[in-house]
Amino acid sequence: MKRLLPLSDQLPLALVHGQPVHQLPADLYIPPDALEVILDAFEGPLDLLLYLIRRQNLDIRDIPIAEVTRQYMDYVELMKAFRLDLAADYLLMAALLAEIKSRLLLPRLTPTNEEDDPRAELVRRLQDYEQCQQAAAVLEALPRLEREHWLVQTSVELPLREQPLPAVDLKALLLAFQAVLQRAEQFKNHQVKREPLSIRERMTQVLIALQAKPQLAFSELFSYEEGRRGVVVSLMAVLELLKAQMIEITQAPEPYAPLYLSRVVAVSA
């Protein structure tokens, strides 16, 4: 399991018409649409650089900067030509390569050692990213559920058990009766002064309430004074917020458990 396949066997360079492409064709002619796919397949400037280095079996610690820079720029030009969405990262890398190249050309005053090598930082980054790629390949090769293994299950024929039903006592029933009658009274009294409530306004109120408290019981949003109309407006507001993914509703996994509203924790971009 710990043995590693060469990276090229793990991750195709690109998919062309559904077929994995591990190596660029040796001859220079590449169909334009294929090229686009290939260029698109690079995960970033480091990926592209590593590809160029590997393609020529170069030692990562001793890159011929001038040559690699030339090839890198060829690709960047190609990307421009094909109007691919050229991320700034690629241009930044081009600038870095150019800088390294120029520093290498400068005469050295002191005897060179590795730390002085202008390439050192780039080499370190390349090695780091190569290790990242290796880790991804290791992960991809690990046997996992839904590919190498599946969970096994037998069916069960359970003896018919009575599902215990909730108990209710008469007192609780009477109290419920009293509560609903009292509310019906209030409902009547306040029905007269009907204030226009907009859904937008209620959405705002809910959000403000959620700023003060991380969680809000669903029932807190409804007040009987507002009557049926208020209930509808609150509910519509909650549904709108939910649709806009501004809030979440959670409920304990049991029937009739109270609902709770909370803010959506944003995965900031």
């Binding site: 299950q153 069916s155 009477l174 009658l181």
Partner: protein, 176 residues
């Protein structure tokens, strides 16, 4: 392959979410593997014999074969299927209370008193528990259903008749 076939079938059945017929099992094999229905039937017999030493049986139902926990282990298995006893919601109790004290009552009347629409699931649960039933239809346009309580409801609460339902005035005594 022969010995393997038994285990292949076991693996297939242990990951199936429904019983599989011999014909369906045949579909799992390619032409090259040349596993026909006879081979599968033979292998299933062997599998059935092997499961004698295991916690599950090979069962043939009308829909096909499946692997099922042996009856004698069900007492342990049942434990991760247990759910906590649910509790009725306030809506449930209020709806039941209104039906009990104000019967016969229509859905529209329930809605008028509670100020919100009748929860269809609550009404369904009340009817399934045999506590509420349709008494008849109100002779008004639309002929809405008239809801009332059942004999089972009275039995559950140890009431001889609806007249025994406590009145609101008695609430104080009950609460103390």
């Amino acid at each position: 392959m022969k010995m393997e076939l038994v285990l292949i079938l076991e693996a297939i059945l242990l990951t199936a979410n429904q019983p599989l017929t011999v014909a369906q099992l045949t579909q799992f094999f390619t032409q090259d593997e040349s596993v026909d229905s006879v081979a599968i039937q033979v292998a299933l017999k062997q599998l059935a014999a092997q499961t004698q030493e295991r916690s599950f049986d090979l069962i043939e139902t009308a829909r096909g074969y499946r692997l099922q926990t042996k009856q004698r282990y069900s007492q342990w298995v049942v434990k991760h299927q247990e759910e906590p006893i649910p509790k009725y919601s306030r809506v449930f109790l209020e709806t039941l209370a209104l039906i009990a004290w104000r019967q016969p009552i229509t859905r529209a009347e329930l809605e008028a008193i509670r100020g919100v629409a009748v929860n269809a699931n609550v009404l369904k649960a009340l009817i399934e528990r045999d506590w509420v039933r349709v008494l008849g239809h109100k002779p008004v346009p639309g002929r809405p259903e008239l809801l009332g309580t059942t004999k089972q409801f009275l039995d559950y609460f140890n009431l001889k008749s609806l007249d025994d339902l406590p009145q609101l005035a008695e609430l104080k005594d009950l609460v103390v």
